[in-house]
């Protein structure tokens, strides 16, 4: 098998995969990697974590994508149990014809169940459904020190809380039991509303979050002056009475690693301006399929290659509600002034539903995410400024996206880190965890 990189392809640390296609292969594979004496390992699913949280200390990982069988499915209750390597895409394909959909889905369907649990992912419905982990009722894992273990909100709840959002450090997740949600069609009734500034965004968010299960906004983070904070607010609900046919992912892909980044100030400026003006009317209602609503970027496989050899970093933070509007404005200004831009930034109002996960990212507040081509000095300077703003506001960064946060900021933002460390499997260690805890 070819060596693996994280999604941002930075830091560039190729991971040597050791395929585990069956649960029963896990203990022997753990021992085989331990025998190499190069350090601890980690489970690796689809490699959609952006930074170094999916990179193992030893650069040897257990590749779990072949462990993708369904063990049980109750189409009356929508409770399913599957092996951790099953992707959300595959699960949707199987469950949708029975009238079930993911309770929570992130912006890509090419992640495994194990990865969704380990990062306690969230989606456009965070304000009504919470995180992915809120819908997980049971996990089985293999630990190098205990063998097969089970946990749930009632069975070994401390281990469950450390595993949901636990970055894969508490054991190799074998199976996940989760609750799906009923749908009547494969479509979403969508509204797309153009806004001219951040105040308008916050007002739209306040008025539409009540009536719409899904809300998100795309913001032009390059725009300055009177255009600052312009963007599109997109909200939607599952459409009633339709077809339950799954949408096949397209085969379009970026075929090779580009030698240089296609993402530069010129291309970004054009793209963002074009995107802002893509709809003539301020408010457009339409019915779209779930794939284009939830997974627009999945339409181009391996899109991370457009950033060239150097890769990119995603900066995703969440700012608590009371400071949300002001700090997001400061952050956006800082980014616009830096000139080191990004494609459209994603803004999302997160809700109040708490997650059981000790390291779960979302807070009640506003989350902002944007991508930056990797340029060492520029990124460090800008990220330092942004980190200070986030930190001061009591916000935090998303470990699944991170490749730079300092140990001090991480430990203050996630005070429960030491509980996860105490329950970490001694044979599992990521480069991220080593960086932020040691």
């Amino acid at each position: 098998m070819a060596n693996l990189l994280s999604w941002g392809r930075y830091p560039r640390q190729p991971q040597q995969p050791h395929a585990v296609n069956w649960s029963e292969d896990v203990p022997a594979t753990l021992s085989a990697i331990a025998a190499l004496k190069q350090g601890a390992t980690l489970a690796f699913g689809c490699g959609r974590s952006y930074g170094d949280s999916c990179l193992a200390e030893s650069n040897h990982v257990l590749a779990t994508s072949g462990m993708n069988r369904l063990l049980a499915a109750d189409w009356e209750t929508g409770i399913i149990t599957a092996e951790a390597g099953l992707t959300l895409s595959e699960l949707t394909r199987i469950a949708l014809p029975h009238g079930w959909f993911l309770s929570v889905t992130p912006g890509t369907q090419f992640v495994t169940l194990g990865g969704a649990v380990a990062n306690d992912v969230h989606g456009k419905n965070h304000h009504v459904m919470g995180t992915f982990g809120c819908h997980v009722s049971h996990l089985t894992m293999i630990r190098s020190d205990e063998g097969l273990v089970e946990c749930s909100p009632v069975q070994r709840p401390e281990l469950f809380a450390a595993t949901v959002g636990g970055l894969g450090l508490t054991g190799i997740i074998l199976t996940v039991t989760l609750q799906l949600r009923r749908v009547e069609s494969n479509e979403i009734d969508q509204r797309s509303i153009r806004f001219d500034n951040l105040d308008e965004f916050f007002a739209l968010s306040k008025s539409h979050d009540v009536a719409h299960e899904y809300t998100v906004a795309w913001v032009d983070c390059l725009a300055k002056g009177k255009n600052a904070g312009r963007g599109h607010f997109i909200c939607g609900n599952h459409a009633p009475n339709g077809q339950l046919k799954p949408i096949a992912p397209t085969g379009l892909a970026v075929p090779v690693d580009l030698p240089f980044s296609l993402v530069n100030p010129l291309s970004l400026g054009l793209f963002n301006t074009f995107y802002y003006h893509r709809q003539l009317h301020k408010d457009v209602a339409s019915r779209v399929n779930y794939s284009s609503f939830f997974y627009p970027l999945d339409g181009l496989r391996q899109w991370n290659r457009i950033y060239g050899q150097a890769g990119f970093q995603q900066y995703q933070c969440v700012i608590p509600e009371q400071h949300g509007a002001d700090v997001i404005r400061d952050i956006m200004n800082t980014i616009a002034n830096s000139g080191s831009g990004s494609f459209l930034a994603v803004l999302k109002q997160c809700g109040k539903i708490p997650s059981i996960g000790l390291l779960s990212f979302p807070l009640h507040g506003v989350s902002l995410a944007l991508d930056f081509p990797q340029r060492d000095a520029l990124n460090i300077r800008l990220f330092n400024k942004l980190d200070a703003l986030v930190h001061e506001a009591g916000g935090r960064l998303y470990p699944a996206k991170d490749a730079h946060i300092s140990s001090i900021h991480f430990k203050q933002a996630y005070p429960d880190w030491s509980k996860v460390e105490a329950l970490r499997d001694p044979q599992l260690q990521s480069q991220f965890w080593k960086r932020v805890t040691q």
């Binding site: 098998m1 070819a2 050791h18 069988r69 063990l71 199987i94």
Partner: protein, 247 residues
Amino acid sequence: MKQNIIIIGATSAIAEAVARRYAESGAQLFLVARNNDKLQLIANDLKIRGASAVQTWVMDANDNEAILPMLDAAWNAFNSYDVALIAHGTLPDQARTETDMIYALDQFCTNGDSVIACLTGLAMRFEPQGKGVIAVISSVAGDRGRASNALYGAAKAAINTYASGLRVRLFKSGVHVLLIKPGFVATPMTAKLDLPARLTVTADKVATDIQKAINKRKNVLYTPWFWQWIMLIIRTIPEFLFKKMKL
């Protein structure tokens, strides 16, 4: 129309991927493999994916005497079959085959003899049916003997020749024989090899090609397609040059 499928070596990655494709269209499957735990996991998964019935049978394909009882059970379970797939096999350690004769012949049995035995048994059952496709997984390695996998290639070459003859023999009865030659596929069997990433495909991709070839009643399938051209070149290199090459 609901199809009936029998798969020997059902826990192999390619076989499992093929089984899923048929399960999704509501097929009834009879799965044969050595490891019962793995068989049960797969059977369960296939039912959830849409198979209308799945039955399993534990058998070591090297046990020649077990083949006819297995076929009896299979035709008892579902009384006719549209497709049979033979997918079992190993990747021998070539270096060991060069010094350990017993090992070499054992490996030849698993990859050659036992496949021919299964083909023979299946032909006995399919011929009276007068319909259906018997598909057998060989390898591009069978197209020419190479130093790096001479024994594996020889066993696959035996299958190629046998399948070709069987295809001719069964033609009049209406039964078709499909010979499948995959190139590099990322599976547990090849996990220890350092395969070139650009030429290596997933079991799922190969399964898609296999299902299409079965539907079209293709005689020989190279999968992915470009192996047909790679192997054409490799077959046409004159022996006096070939023996000096490290392929």
